[in-house]
């Protein structure tokens, strides 16, 4: 049943031999697993929209497993922007550092309307695996086996109309008597060779929107002065002109109130699409060690000004497209957090 899954290995931008080896070893390993079909492609993020590789993947409507040197969210939404979407498949393979102190504040999340909620997704699942999460092929291959198992159960559930007694399903998946069809053995006879796309697109730099976070607030389109953003026919934000984006500039992601804008190649994990801001990453002591007190909006305005000047235009500072989020907020008594933050300002660190 694994032949029902398309596996994509997205090569990194880096020529690091260790990474290259892992990519090709993984291709070899997956080729040997049941009849899985595997594509090795150039860096997913760099692929031109509508190019051959994208067309090939778009033609597939079953589940997809993507191995990329990208955070899961980044890979998922790059695919989505290329017209390859589906429900999020749960990936259990995580880097070892990740699981300490993982704080999820889901309870505190305000209920907001996300763009994704209004969209209808194809029924299939897309599983995005970050190749930085393990150092050898085995964990990745094991994760594939697990996903294949989950995926075939999924399929079974969809196929037989719910309410299947558990024992019956188990028997179907692992038949014990000789007269049963051994689907796994049959599939194993079919080895589909790895298909490799060798074209090397130039490096690109553009934002990717995570629509499970985006609320369509339009702050990014107001902020960006390079015409990257636009809206679709139903007035939903989209990255309309990705290649208008200024290389290295992540400023719009800093002004996004929902942290929905990803620059997959940015050095800061939170901007590159890491799920949790601190989980597994190092503590940043810069504020304690004398960093100037510059908030994200000021950094964004500075970065934008640098790009404007480089493009031969005038710097605009904070005068254009900066939302005054707190402006119409009624005055309320300060709570503990307000006091704490005020205390930080007073503290001349």
């Amino acid at each position: 049943m694994n032949s029902r899954i398309l596996t994509i290995i997205s090569r990194g931008q880096s020529e690091n031999p260790v990474k290259r080896q892992l990519e090709s070893d993984l291709g070899d390993a997956l080729e040997k697993i049941d009849g899985s079909r595997t594509l090795i492609i150039p860096n997913l993020y760099d692929l031109p929209i509508g190019g051959d590789v994208v067309q090939a993947i778009r033609a597939w409507d079953g589940p997809i497993v993507v191995y990329a040197w990208l955070f899961e969210r980044a890979a998922r939404w790059v695919l989505d922007r290329n017209g390859i979407s589906g429900h999020e498949g749960e990936v259990l393979l995580k880097s070892e550092d990740d699981d300490e102190d993982e704080v999820t504040n889901e309870d505190d999340e305000e209920e907001k309307e996300r763009v994704l909620a209004a969209r209808e997704l194809p029924k299939r699942r897309i599983y995005c695996v970050n190749l930085r999460d393990a150092q050898s092929v085995e964990p990745f291959a094991e994760e594939f086996q697990r996903i294949a198992q989950v995926s075939s159960e999924d399929e079974l559930h969809a196929w037989i109309d719910r309410d299947v007694p558990l024992h019956q399903m188990q028997r179907f998946l692992q038949p014990t008597n000789d007269t049963a069809l051994n689907t796994n053995a049959e599939a194993a006879n079919v080895q589909v060779p790895v298909l490799k796309f060798d074209e090397s697109p130039g490096r690109r730099w553009y934002p990717v929107i995570d629509f499970s976070r985006c609320t369509n607030c339009m702050e990014c389109i107001d902020f960006c002065l390079f015409g990257v953003y636009g809206v679709d026919t139903i007035d939903t934000i989209l990255v309309e002109q990705p290649d208008n984006c200024r290389k290295g500039c992540p400023a719009c992601s800093r002004v996004c109130p929902e942290n929905a804008i990803i620059f997959p190649q940015h050095k800061t994990p939170a901007i590159a699409g890491a799920d949790v801001e601190v989980g597994g990453l190092k503590i940043d002591l810069s504020r304690l060690f004398g960093a100037p007190d510059e908030d994200a909006t000021k950094v964004a305005a500075r970065e934008r000004d640098e790009q404007l000047v480089m493009a031969g235009r005038d710097a605009v500072g904070l005068s254009v497209g900066i939302p005054k989020r707190q402006a119409d907020k009624p005055v309320e008594p300060k709570d503990d957090l307000d006091n704490l933050i005020d205390g930080l300002d007073d503290l001349d660190l």
């Binding site: 704080v103 601190v278 503590i283 940043d284 002591l285 304690l288 060690f289 004398g290 660190l349």
Partner: protein, 152 residues
Amino acid sequence: MSNELVFMMGEFEAKFPLDRQYAKNHMWGQAQPDGTIRFGFTAYAVRLLQDVYFLDWTIDAGVDLTERQEIGAIESKKAESDLFAPIAGQLTQFNEQLLSDPSGINVDKYSDGWLFDIQGDSVGLLSTEQYLEHLVGVWEITQRTIKGQMNQ
């Protein structure tokens, strides 16, 4: 009579020699015979960083600095930080040995693990007592930063 003061960082005794001055960004400064001021990390900073893996300077020796100008970055097992000039002045030299092996910071922070020399005015630096008062003020915030990155 003791030649150092101690600040308790939880269970940890951070010690600060009396023979030098201190900057609020957790560096010590000590006048050198050539008239420059030598800087290094205090026990407070080193305790926060723990094992230093990587040190990098983004400016060259000989450059004139303003106070709190960004001059480099440090990465340790547990933390990372940009680094900033403790005072204004001309940075005359870096401790080259630390660039190949930054663990000198952990081994001997108050002597061989020095960071750089600056030709400048020490007037803004604190005495050991003043620095300890400063620590009393920032310790709470430091702990919060470590525990939750201010819940960002």
